[in-house]
Symmetry: C2
Subunit: 358 residues, 2 copies
Amino acid sequence: MTDTRADFEGAVCPVPLSHKDQIVIGHGSGGKMTHDLIKGVFHSRLSNPALLAGNDAATLTLPPGARLEGRLAISTDSHIVSPLFFPGGDIGRLAVSGTVNDVCTSGAIPLFLTAGFILEEGLPVETLERVAQSMADTAAEAGVEVVAGDTKVVEKGKADGLFINTAGVGWIPAGREIGGELARPGDVILLSGPIGDHGIAVLAARGQLGLETNIQSDVAPLNGLIHSLLAAAPHTHVLRDPTRGGLATTLNEIAVQSNVCLWLEEAAVPVRPEVRAVCELLGFDPLYIANEGKLVAVVPPEEADAALAAMRSHPLGNQAVQVGEVRADPQRRALLHTSIGGTRVLDMLAGEMLPRIC
Amino acid sequence: MTDTRADFEGAVCPVPLSHKDQIVIGHGSGGKMTHDLIKGVFHSRLSNPALLAGNDAATLTLPPGARLEGRLAISTDSHIVSPLFFPGGDIGRLAVSGTVNDVCTSGAIPLFLTAGFILEEGLPVETLERVAQSMADTAAEAGVEVVAGDTKVVEKGKADGLFINTAGVGWIPAGREIGGELARPGDVILLSGPIGDHGIAVLAARGQLGLETNIQSDVAPLNGLIHSLLAAAPHTHVLRDPTRGGLATTLNEIAVQSNVCLWLEEAAVPVRPEVRAVCELLGFDPLYIANEGKLVAVVPPEEADAALAAMRSHPLGNQAVQVGEVRADPQRRALLHTSIGGTRVLDMLAGEMLPRIC
């Protein structure tokens, strides 16, 4: 629990750091230090009546529409990204966006989030404060409340700084039937913008590439974009955010769930030149790189134009394009129509290309 | 990714372990290996329609009562216990019970859980299978469904085997108003059984005590016990499970939330002789040791007898006793009336006595 700092003579002497500066085991005790940490770091940033009540569970009242419909969407996601801060985002923005996106791609309106923190002893409290502020900002952007939280501390060397789990609850309005099993032959596949930004931005932030890039993560909550899309194309069949495993894995999942073929036009898939350059240098395929603020929508052909226009009218979808279509055969396959005119099976990601990106 | 095993000559040669034997980074890719792991380990044990649908969020329909009332309880808890298996339980039983208990101590009927796994590279798959089975068994015991999950993998040395976050959603029936802020002078304080078992059982399981004990963790879901209690004492004011920080910290929390004094009779608090012996040997106070299957109930005096009888009629409360009462002054304090007749302030746990117990 000490840090070495040079004193004015140039000698190095240990200076004890207090529990106000960095996380110590006592912050996970459930006692006074935990209460003080929660009050100091979280309550001042993520304040709402349910969280401030201080009970073991948040007590919440569903909005009238949710009570009438009675359908909820529930999801969870753990975040282990390294480094914690990267161009375009940080673990806090990721933790809120990731779960908001998992909830809203079911067609649900996200309402409530929980946040579970696993902190490594020695983490600077200032780091946790920056992350909490980023979570608060992103939650406000998405219109959701963090209503319950938990903080645990593990010994130095038993975790990697900070892990965050978020779980989310949303409600599904009447008439919305959206799911990976609902793609039908003839549907068109829309993509909200260029792929691969998040994965490459995080990789570059590790400083191991030996090259400088200007690539920013796309991490963002997608519920606003989806709201616009569904107003214009209410019979949308599938929504998905292509995170781990990238666009290729997402299309495979839909093909299997719906017993159809997802046909992807390689030339139509937008990839930023910088992302493409890094991928070519390192032997990566952008179709397998994670995104954290992109939307795949499978919509019936009669609503495709309206859907595309609606996506393009939203800041997060202004580069939206049609990238493919749904075909009947071969079932349970994603096929890539390549830029040079060939066709090949687009498999699911087999192993791991880039670990610890989300 | 290799293991050394003695061959028949006694020489030691490396035998490669496959991803079927232990967790590798690819299990966290979101691609085929992740799908295979989820299917092999989780779907066969935690099966239900929402989980099997394979969408990013589970879609669920609330029971009619929940829709009518519209009040939900939501909670989250991360579990970092070391070791993963201990007498009386394991991290899986703990992860389900902990969140079920946080939800049901608000008076809610727990319905749905999410589970987020952070796995350390090298974890035996068999360990994960045992934990998943334990979660399934405990969820069945509690009558809840694990409807959504997430799996991430970190490099060897970047986590301690396995961390599990669970979040839970329940609904609060009409007329139930239960919360830490509702204790009133004159209320009686009931405790469902002896304290300290969980913390001491986990500590003993680390093998660092240098002594053998027969102490078993009390980890269990409390919603059945609470159901019996509330049928007999529907005007119960506060329910709380005294986990991290122990009974003393829980009483302090209630005193602060309700602006009252919680008066505890030391002689009335049940502690098993083996737990007391270990505590005396190591200088611990059982009032600060964590429990994971004990209930504190603050009930109005006119319902106290019925409440106690109902608790005693349930297997998890058959040693229930009255341990104290709520007084008006001094506000925001827990006071201990000691066995030898003195009175002292019972503070909240200041730092940490036993880390990594839940």
